[in-house]
Amino acid sequence: MSHTHKPGNDGAEERHAAAMVEEITDFEVLEIAVRELAIEHGLFTADDHRRFTEWTESVGPAAGSRLVAKAWIDQAFKARVMQDAVKACKEIGIDWSEPTGFGTPSDYMNLRVLEDTPTLHHVIVCTLCSCYPRPLLGMSPEWYRTTNYRRRLVRWPRQVLAEFGLILPPEVEVRIEDSNQKCRFMVLPVRPEGTENWTEKQLAEIVTRDCMIGVALPRRGRTADVHPVHKARRPVQGSAHSGEAAHERKE
């Protein structure tokens, strides 16, 4: 099943429109049963569970898009982001200390924003588990969590990027950031040409989740990530490609 993620939509519309199927699945029952038993056995409290559920529902990639758009327009803000990203996030309404006062047990409070240049392209991964900057990007996409992505991206980065439709010239440094400890990372892509007079809102619209992971480049007219990821093909070596991402494949 493929679906699109658009910046500016933290899933609120999706949640409230047609959210329910008209039957009670065993999966739904299982989740409730596990939760109740876990709370009764003291594995965690109902209070903590409610707080984390609310937090999970509150995060989405729109925040990251806002941060990138603002950094593109406001050089002083960008400097603050590079100096202390957690502190700069507060300026766009994101507090990495939520919901516990010291962050979550997976996101912590050590964001580092990775600034791309025309000769340096970052991609984020967590080979060990699938750590992800949830306060800025929301829940990680399923493909990001698979061993297929995590194991292959560090070993065959250009092949994996090609499967996403992103081909970069050989002289560009592809830098993979493996978030194996407590730092969390997000990519600040290069602002595309032809967007010089755009508003922050217009810019945010082309900064999709995939651009902030590093598997896509922002581009005029590209306002959604299209999935699922295609299976690996025989890599093409030495082909001549421009620095722009290949056009998105249709499923």
Binding site: M20, V29, L37, C129
Partner: protein, 117 residues
């Protein structure tokens, strides 16, 4: 706790009974014309995982290693996020954090409660 998570490839009867192809969200949602890409319990599941890590009952790295093992073996053909749910429950059961018969009984009680609501 060894470096390789010893979750094993043994199957758990209760969870095997749940693996009906037609009831996963990727099949059900289109059938009912539901546009939400995720089932409503997915955020609650995520919160369970965070809570288990925060309390120390099941650290994230342990859970994810077990999930990776199970996703490549026992639950290989189950779509996400059902696969993640089954893998989590499998780990909790195999570590005796929950009991299979307790869970089965609670599932019956929950279903009965939901169906009479």
């Amino acid at each position: 706790m060894s470096a390789k998570n010893e979750v094993g490839s043994g199957r758990i009867g209760l969870l095997e009974a749940l693996r009906q192809e037609e009831k996963t969200w990727n099949v059900l949602a289109p059938r009912y014309g539901v546009t939400n890409p995720n089932p409503p319990w997915k955020t609650s599941l995520s919160a369970i995982c965070d809570c288990l890590a925060a309390s120390g009952a099941l650290p994230a790295l342990d859970r994810r290693r077990a999930e990776d093992e199970l996703a490549e073996s026992v639950y290989r053909d189950v779509p996400a996020p059902e696969r993640q749910l089954l893998a989590l429950v499998h780990v909790l059961l195999s570590r005796s954090l929950l009991d299979e018969s307790d869970l089965a009984a609670r599932m019956r009680a929950v279903r009965s409660r939901l169906e009479s609501a």
